[in-house]
Amino acid sequence: MYTQAMDTMREEGGQPALRTAEEAALQQRFDNRIDAGDFIEAKDWMPDNYRKTLLRQISQHAHSEIVGMLPEGNWITRAPTLKRKAILLAKVQDEGGHGLYLYAAAETLGQSRDQMLDSLHSGKAKYSSIFNYPTLTWADVGTIGWLVDGAAIMNQVPICRCSYAPYARAMIRICREESFHQRQGYDSLLAMMQNGTEAQKAMVQDAVNRWWWPCLMMFGPPDDQSPNSAQGMRWGIKRVSNDTLRQKFVDATVQQAQVLGVSLPDPDLRWNEATQHWDFGTIDWSEFWRVVGGEGPCNRERLAMRVAAWEEGEWVREAALAHSRKQARKEKAA
């Protein structure tokens, strides 16, 4: 999820001609390692495009984690019980931690966190479009846990085997926490559906209706419209295709919805005995591209809020730097 880089990036302009025999040898060695399923470490030689693509993907993933803190953070002060407040605080805190691991992984490719944040704040870097949808009720929090974290897991488990080792390592830690989030989200919806009032059940159904289609879009455009996927697969950055992951998600989620007692808002959803999968209706890709393009319900608010926090915090960061410079001078003098 979180990583539409592969689908939304502009064309890189092809592979530049290799200049020297030495470079050709390095490239050959790199290709062999990738083919053999080896992991690439930060200090290893890698082609420029591989580095650029990864940097874009990992930083976008990091941005998604921290922008993703906003829609749910929106409900911390209104959580309905102290237990739910504690769970939500812990979850949003985890997402911040995911941001930290991922920025650190991206930094191994040669860009500082501040540079990456500049790209986010200027609107140059993207983050997952799912976070441009609003959290209108408490049930949205549980639905995000169930569906959005659920889709993220589907998408991210294969990245644990990504050819770039620092990214793969970060993903292993992250995936473990994401499955907690999914269970907790589902559990909070279950509490309302099984023991709640009619008004609460309606609240849950409404949230599922609003989040279902955007969640299916999280996997990215259909395979035949995802021209960069092939290169990602070749490099071992992408392991499973968009459509395959989307189908896996639908198959897993239909059953969970039945247990929960909600319907999924798709009249075309039906079991296909021949394929042994759930068929589903047509996704409105114009909506996806509109939101990616900045015209979703909350794009402006989300970015404005990140920028405001950054700008309001500038004096704090300056003070911390000034203090550590003074300390360093004192230690030198002593």
């Binding site: 921290i66 803190m69 906003l70 953070g73 911390i76 002060t77 209104r78 959580a79 309905p80 019980t81 102290l82 237990k83 739910r84 407040k85 504690a86 605080l89 812990a90 949003v92 805190q93 911040g96 931690g97 941001g99 930290l100 920025y103 408490w138 909070s188 509490a191 309302m192 099984q194 023991n195 709640g196 009032t197 008004a199 609460q200 809020m305 405001a308 926090a309 950054w310 309001e312 915090g313 500038e314 004096w315 704090v316 960061r317 300056e318 003070a319 911390a320 730097l321 000034a322 203090h323 550590s324 003074k326």
Partner: protein
């Protein structure tokens, strides 16, 4: 709308609620920082402290509920009291302000809470003593975090220093409430439940003096103003805080969460 609960006014319950509500309301305010901190590490640290405080409030409110004789649970106490039944000192409910205000209020309250938890480990109430033992470790970390930042900000730049001074000036009028006794303190001390708040004053001043000294800051002169949150008369900010915090419990009577 879900109606309010009425709790019996006993000195013992008041003592527990004063402490439990301080944790609850501070946690509520710190939670407002999530996603808005000056750096990602602070978003995480402040949410983490909010989480600790909410955890402490759950333990204390559960205990208070048991002692209420009415079988109230933590959520009824947290979400279904009228404003006048909340017993936190007013300082805890003031808006989060800028990062300097949040840090200095945290320094004030975490130092105060740490001292209270230290003493409550010897409470005659075994459950309260157990809660204190766990909370003490958390309060020590909160105090350390606030102290580190107070020194950075006090020493950092012109602007950070000015903001710290403004924050302290805003906080100072609310300090006497943390250290003046009434009948609740007298009863707690007599029964061995916990210390009278006045006994925290000297060690608090000593610890604060050390940190503020290193930060190049000082507590302003005390004022004649007295805040009264701990007897249930709050500032105007409290109503908004509670409206937000209580909204779901009030709007969905009989709901399951």
């Amino acid at each position: 709308m879900q109606a309010s609960i009425q709790i019996p006014a006993t000195p013992e319950l008041d003592y527990l609620l004063r402490l439990g509500d301080t944790c609850l309301i501070s946690g509520q305010r710190l939670g407002e920082w999530c996603g808005h901190g000056p750096i990602l590490e602070e978003d995480i640290a402040l949410s983490n402290m909010a989480l600790d405080l909410i955890g402490q409030s759950r333990a204390l409110l559960t205990l208070a509920g048991q002692k209420s004789g009415k079988g109230f649970d933590e959520d009824q106490l947290a979400f279904l009291r009228d404003e006048g039944a909340y017993r936190n000192p007013t300082l805890a409910e003031l808006p989060r302000g800028d990062f300097a205000f949040t840090i200095l209020r945290n320094l004030v309250l975490s130092t105060w809470l740490k001292l209270i938890w230290e003493r409550l480990r010897d409470s005659r109430d075994a459950e309260l003593a157990a809660i204190a033992g766990k909370a003490l470790k958390e309060a020590r970390y909160h105090q350390q975090h606030a102290a580190d930042w107070a020194v950075r900000l006090g020493d950092g730049t012109e602007e950070s220093r000015r903001r710290c001074e403004a924050a302290l000036a805003q906080i100072a009028p609310y300090l006497p409430e943390l250290f003046e006794d009434d009948t609740v303190d007298a009863a707690a001390e007599a029964s061995g439940l916990g210390p009278a708040w006045s006994s925290l004053r000297e060690p608090w001043l000593a610890e604060m003096g050390e940190v503020l000294g290193e930060a190049g800051l000082a507590l302003p002169e005390s004022t004649k103003f007295r805040s009264t949150g701990k007897v249930g008369r709050h500032s105007e900010h409290m109503g908004y805080l509670l409206a937000e915090m209580q909204y779901l419990q009030r709007a969905y009577p009989g709901g399951a969460w």
